[in-house]
Symmetry: C2
Subunit: 178 residues, 2 copies
């Protein structure tokens, strides 16, 4: 069991989830400028996070069924987010507030350690992502991410994976076939 | 006082530093493949962290006097690092082992919270860095980093800042003058 799964189980057992949200495909859960400090659990469906760079949508992360997703910049700073979180299909979420999550994390040494593991794992993933972005070969980027997150290639439409991998849908499709 | 400064003070007062290292300009503190789980404090001098991508050195971080630097991937996973850490001038460091740091962090609730703050702040910085790398305009990248880390522009030679900003030294020099 990963630290994240363990955290989700804790939130389950303490019944801290609230406010179910239903989204249609292309609906936004969060838009740039929103302050949103909740963690969302994906009950059903999938989402992507993107940032805008001169009107280009750069996909930077995904959320699938059974995972957590958040506007992490806003969660951490309590300031407006730079992120857009958009449903890729019909999606159902439930959420927990930052305050309740904080109380849970501080309620025991074991839970605090769990949170540290989650943060350390996120820090490591972000370093991997930085290395992806600095990898000039599209094929190498593809294989790095395929090895790290094979489930991505099952759950997410190709054009968004191509955006995440910083390549055209045509290049993505060519590499995928080869 | 930042959480990182507070952690440094704690390590000071508990006298956990050991193994001073002296480096000449261009010497390596860490090379790809090393397992190195220490945190280093820069007593004097400066360093850069880079990764190799098909023989190109991509600078991804800096360490200056009074700051901490580490092969964070190796620190977190205890596996070989992907990073090179190189002195940019004559540099003196002292270090603390992961084990001693861990004992310190777990020695009090206050220290555990300090570590959580440091990890959260690192996570946020890595998100900012991801956004830098996805910003196509060199001028915009320059201003994002200038605003976030003005001290960088004092402490580090231009050619390494240019590499960090993903632009040629010529473009960097032109933007700096304008």
């Amino acid at each position: 069991m990963t630290p994240l799964t363990e955290l989700i189980q804790q939130i389950d057992s303490k019944q801290l989830w609230e406010r179910e949200v239903d989204l249609q495909r292309n609906d936004y859960l969060v838009e740039k400028g929103n302050i949103n400090t909740r963690f969302f659990f994906v009950v059903e469906g999938s989402l992507r996070i993107f940032v805008l760079d001169s009107n280009e949508e750069n996909t930077i992360r995904f959320g699938y069924k059974g995972n957590l997703i958040a506007a992490l910049d806003s969660f951490l700073t309590e300031k407006p987010t730079e992120l857009y979180i958009q449903a890729l299909k019909k999606t159902r979420l439930k959420s927990v507030t930052k305050i309740k999550l904080k109380v849970l994390i501080e309620s025991s040494t074991a839970n605090t350690k769990l949170w540290i593991s989650i943060l350390e794992s996120f820090a490591f993933q972000q370093m991997e992502r930085e290395r992806d972005l600095l990898t000039s070969s599209p094929i190498e980027r593809y294989h790095r991410v395929l090895q790290r997150s094979p489930q991505l290639f099952q759950a997410i439409p190709d054009k968004y994976i191509a955006s995440y991998l910083r390549m055209s849908p045509e290049t993505f499709s060519r590499i995928k076939k080869s």
